[in-house]
């Protein structure tokens, strides 16, 4: 990985002074952020969401917030994979599928039990067990893939790594889809609901308990993920490897271990998304395609490898889609947001929140 070039030494104290005066107050900081590219887009998105909600009804805002969270989770995993290992994953949707499949099989007996014992605490906790099972299953699957496939490639051939990995993930996706079909059949394996309670009215829009919970799961996971990355040693090693692999090796970090961890984390997040959305997307071989596309839209929109950017990105894509559906009709959400992202790409060729770290993506 190329690290930033060493700048020629010029009068450093002068720069310090300028920087200090600019970074003086919190308010000034906020103002500066608002006028940065990221600030403008985020503010604009919020504005559009509010205007559209007033025009069409509050469901736009509610829908954006609730679906955005899950897409963001998927995209975080994808983005992490890219920034740490330079793998542009095309099989991420299949981990989503695996997560939902595991959750389905775990939820089956739990659902039967709660039907007989509706007052039991399992009614509340059971779904969480299913979701966690889905997450762990995918984390394990991720580790297996890393060891069996990417480790092998890394040992043998590091030339054209990015493209080779991309193709391998395409192959993985084909294998997992058809493997699911061969082993579990192609029928829709769905559940009725995780938490079978009446809908909750929010801003005059009725939202099922499952959705509310899915949103809270997404939000908590994001916070947890942030804490993990910022404050835990393991998270720091992941960040270190993503910023400078050689450097990480030099300070004694086992890059191999970080790769395993990253894969587990990334696939686990996809599995979590799949498991928590099982009530909406029953598990079947190709269930992951749509979430995969969405998360790709997000990471392209915000810039490759920008993990934090995936969060606003998720909400932006969700908003794009709700808006197109409301204003253009069903089916156009496959066309218009894509064209819009392409347009943004033309003007911002490396995404809106172009990453500061240049990794080897352009090989």
């Amino acid at each position: 990985m190329a690290s930033a070039a060493i700048e020629p030494t010029i009068d450093e104290s002068a720069i310090d002074k300028v920087e200090q005066t600019i970074e003086n107050t919190f308010v000034q900081k906020v103002v500066r952020w608002v006028f940065s590219a990221a600030g403008i887009t985020i503010c604009l998105t919020i504005l559009i969401a509010i205007v559209a909600s007033i025009h069409k009804g509050p469901y736009i805002l509610v829908n954006t917030i609730i679906t955005g969270g899950m897409w963001a989770l998927m995209a975080i995993g994808l983005s992490l994979l890219f920034s740490v290992m330079n793998i542009a994953g095309f099989a991420h949707g299949e981990y989503f599928m695996a997560g939902s499949l595991t959750a389905y099989f775990v939820m089956q007996p739990i659902g039967k039990y709660t039907l007989d014992h509706p007052e039991s605490f399992i009614t509340y906790v059971g779904p969480l067990i299913a979701i966690l099972a889905g997450t762990f299953m995918c984390a394990i699957l991720g580790v297996i893939t890393e060891r069996l496939v990417f480790k092998q490639l890394r040992i043998r051939n590091r030339e054209g790594w990015l493209l080779n990995c991309f193709l391998i993930t395409i192959g993985l996706s084909v294998i997992m889809q058809n493997g699911h079909q061969l082993i579990f059949g192609a029928d829709f394996k769905g559940i009725l609901a995780y938490w079978d309670f009446p809908s909750v009215p929010i801003l005059g829009v009725y939202i099922s308990m499952d959705r509310v919970c899915a949103f809270f799961i997404a939000a908590l996971t994001m916070v947890g993920f942030y804490m993990f990355m910022m404050f835990s040693t393991a998270g720091k090693t992941i960040r270190a490897v993503s910023q400078d692999e050689e450097g990480a090796r030099m300070v004694g970090i086992s890059v191999d271990a970080v790769h395993i961890m990253t894969f587990a984390l990334s696939c686990g997040l996809a599995g979590l998304a799949g498991a928590s959305l099982l009530f909406m997307f029953p598990s079947y071989p190709t269930v992951g395609v749509m979430p995969l596309y969405n998360s790709w839209f997000i990471i392209i929109l915000v810039g490759f490898g920008n993990v934090a950017g995936s969060i606003p990105g998720g909400f932006m894509i969700a908003l794009f889609q709700v808006l197109t559906r409301s204003y253009f009709g069903e089916g156009w959400e496959a066309v218009i947001p894509v064209l819009l992202i392409s347009l943004i790409l033309i003007f911002k060729p490396s995404g809106i929140f172009a990453t500061k770290v240049r990794t080897v993506w352009d090989q």
Binding site: A4, I6, T9, D244, G247, R249, M250, K356
Partner: protein
């Protein structure tokens, strides 16, 4: 003998850069490796630190063979490598970078002690504790990299071209800190192009040309050697 290299061959794929290199560094020494551009100085350090697998020969560190060992394991043995590109974690703060440097140190008291020592050595880093490494100036980056190396309490420190791209004043400061470090007990193997200053600072030196060691000896002796004077010191 802390570090002993016996007839080492190394290179990148089909391109062999080092041919039959042998050198040794004693505990507490300050040894320099000098030579022209492309002589293989950085390759030597990379091979020792485990970032590059050797193609032949032996590397012994404190009696154990570390040739072909992975980078992070070499680091755990007590070898710190400060590369030419510095390899800082640019999107982490100075403090986080230093903490990452102490990744292999499990004793938190020791970590704290190291951190205090680094801040004492480079007060500038203390001032910028919460700044991102990517926003540092060239000189500060060097200090940052050396500081990060110190954090792992290494027995041997490999330093690659610390003066590259620095103003003379800053170069002096860096050299001074290396000397302090050496006096404190850390063995140093330094690669430099600034031959004059290096020979003044180091106790012993090797001269590497076209991937082979052509000369070695006490720094003071080498400074008076005809070959060295003619080619490296320019008089």
């Amino acid at each position: 003998m802390l570090l002993e290299i016996k007839s080492l061959d190394s290179g990148y794929g089909f391109l062999q850069v080092l041919w039959d290199i042998s050198l040794s560094v004693d505990e507490g020494e300050f040894v320099a490796l000098i030579g022209p551009n492309g002589a293989g100085k950085s390759t030597t350090l990379k091979t020792i630190s485990g970032l590059l697998p050797p193609q032949g020969g032996e590397i012994l560190f404190a009696g154990d063979s570390i040739g072909g060992m992975e980078g992070h394991l070499v680091c755990r043995k007590g070898v710190a490598f400060i590369s030419e590109e510095l390899n800082l974690f640019v999107n982490m703060t100075v403090k986080e970078n230093l903490e990452m440097g102490a990744f292999t140190v499990e004793d938190s008291a020791k970590q704290k002690e190291n951190l205090e020592f680094v801040y004492e050595l480079f007060p500038r880093l203390y001032e910028r504790e919460n700044q991102y490494a990517g926003t540092l100036s060239g000189g500060e980056r060097k200090m940052m990299a050396i500081g990060r190396g110190i954090m792992s309490s290494p027995r041997l420190m490999l330093v690659d071209e610390p003066s590259l791209g620095l103003a003379p004043m800053l170069t002096n400061e860096v050299f001074k800190s290396l000397r302090t470090l050496n006096k404190r007990g850390t063995t140093i193997l330094l690669v430099e192009q600034n031959v004059g200053k290096t020979l003044k600072t180091s106790s012993r030196a090797y001269i590497l040309e076209k991937g082979k060691i052509v000369l070695d000896g006490k720094s003071a002796d080498l400074a008076n050697d005809d070959h060295v004077r003619k080619i490296y010191l320019g008089h």
